[in-house]
């Protein structure tokens, strides 16, 4: 790091500080995490009751997992920006930090949040939903990892947009869904492959797609964020 320019180091320090502030705030109040975990538990229970003794096809089960993940993401990932608007601290952050640091700090926070919740979701889902088996664990792990990054990336920039629009919750899934859909189709397909026991190499195409999606979304969000964030 000593070779990094001073302004880069400063930027990284600001980013880290934004991330830590959100993290400490969440650890202290635990609003998001507890609500999200309860949401996931409730949703999986509903699915369990709906399925009853009938199973569902591999395709359906792969898809439903990501439906749960999507709605959990919609419940929790807008909070990082909406909370600042509700508490009136947007101006404070605008004064303290360069826009890029706010974006990457909150992106990192959302990534940690969504990965944690997804880990719980996946474990609960695999444990309780009969018929959901993973035969190629390597594909599944990479899929959940890349999927989490992708969700965090798309959800964070849309959260920034709706927070500044003063509309809060209702528009969030409406705006997010078309953006997230390519990601969803990829991860559902890859999960199906993991369920059916495909070789790791067969999923390479989907992983390439996921990685390019992530790169494209993060780069364009980072460029757009300054316009969204500043008045």
């Amino acid at each position: 790091m000593s070779a990094a320019s001073p302004s880069l180091r400063l930027f990284l320090r600001s980013t880290g500080a934004v991330f830590l502030k959100d993290l400490r705030s969440e650890l202290r109040t635990r609003y998001a995490v507890s609500a999200l975990i309860m949401f996931v538990v409730t949703t999986i229970s509903i699915i369990l009751f709906s399925l009853g003794s009938e199973g569902a096809s591999t395709d359906a089960l792969s898809g439903m997992l990501w439906v749960v993940v999507f709605f959990a993401a919609m419940s929790g990932l807008s909070r990082t920006f909406v909370m600042e608007e509700e508490r009136g601290t947007t101006l404070t952050l605008q004064l303290l930090a360069p826009p890029g640091a706010v974006f990457f700090g909150k992106l990192l926070f959302n990534f940690v949040l969504v990965t944690g919740v997804n880990a719980v979701t996946v474990v609960l889902y695999a444990a309780f939903i009969n018929g959901f088996v993973i035969r190629t664990m390597s594909i599944f792990v990479v899929t959940v990892g890349l999927g989490s990054i992708g969700f965090a990336a798309a959800a964070t920039v849309i959260a920034a947009i709706i927070a500044r629009a003063n509309t809060r919750g209702t528009l969030y899934p409406v705006l997010s869904f078309p953006i997230i859909l390519p990601l969803l189709l990829s991860v559902i397909d890859a999960t199906r492959m993991a369920s059916e026991g495909a070789f790791f190499g067969e999923a390479a195409g989907e992983f390439q797609l996921l990685i390019s999606y992530i790169v494209v979304v993060i780069v364009s969000s980072a460029m757009l964020f300054e316009y969204i964030w500043k008045d």
């Binding site: 849309i158 947009i161 509309t167 528009l171 953006i179 969204i228």
Partner: protein, 232 residues
């Protein structure tokens, strides 16, 4: 003036020839369209469905280009254009979805199948819907312009994943998808007979002209409205 007349002539020609010219299995005369096995009369819809789908994408890209210009220059005139293009795109997208569903019913048996191209037009419809919901939720003009511009750019960036990548990877019903024995299909590989091609490309051109004309009209209307609001 010239534009309007040209447009009227072209569209009439397209509609008449597209719907009216007879189809026969072994076309002899220039005005006889060939029969495409499996499609027959329903093939006529290609003159209308493909252009509307094409326009809904063109409009979206136009909207995005103006969105980028707005963010760079902060001139609300760009936002008027961005929103006008999006409005037209929304309309054409609805038309494309409907004509597509009609064709799907006659061709493949059901109105909707979640084939990749169908999914992409549906997603475009959702994007347009989301774009306008966002616009109606913001009160300040500048903020509305900024946020909707940002959204249309983000959406535009994910759209290629649908239109180009998905159909290659997933099998689909549309010509050009993986698993289509005909290859890229009549449109992409120019397997259309010459006279059909003439009508088709004229239709494409005419519809594009229509879009351009309607776009100019909408922009002028919006500018007059804004002007009146400021005075009144």
């Amino acid at each position: 003036m010239v534009l309007k007349i040209l447009l009227g002539v072209l569209l009439t020609a397209v509609i008449v020839s597209g719907l009216g010219l007879p189809m026969s299995p072994h076309p002899q005369a220039w005005y006889q369209l060939p029969v495409i096995p499996g499609l027959e009369e329903k093939a006529r819809i290609i003159f209308f469905h493909v252009p509307t789908a094409w326009l809904s994408v063109v409009a979206f890209l136009t909207s995005m280009v103006y969105a980028i210009q707005y963010l760079r220059k902060r001139d609300l005139a760009y936002d008027i254009r961005s929103s006008a293009a999006a409005g037209l795109g929304f309309m054409f997208c609805i038309l494309a979805t409907i004509t597509g569903a009609v064709w799907a019913k006659f061709n493949w048996g059901s109105y909707w199948n979640w084939d990749p191209r169908e999914t992409s037009i549906f997603v475009l419809l959702l994007i347009y819907g989301a774009y306008f919901s966002l616009r109606s939720a913001v009160e300040t003009e500048e903020k509305r312009a900024t946020l909707s511009s940002a959204y249309s750019i983000i959406a535009a960036v994910t759209v290629p994943f649908f239109i180009f990548i998905m159909p290659r990877i997933m099998t689909g019903l549309h010509p050009g998808a993986k698993g289509d024995p005909e290859g890229a299909g009549p449109v992409v590989e120019f397997k259309m007979a010459p006279n059909m091609r003439v009508i088709f490309f004229t239709s494409l051109f005419a519809f594009t002209l229509l879009f351009y004309w309607m776009f100019r009209l909408r922009v002028r209307t919006a500018e007059v409205e804004t002007h009146n609001q400021l005075r009144g």
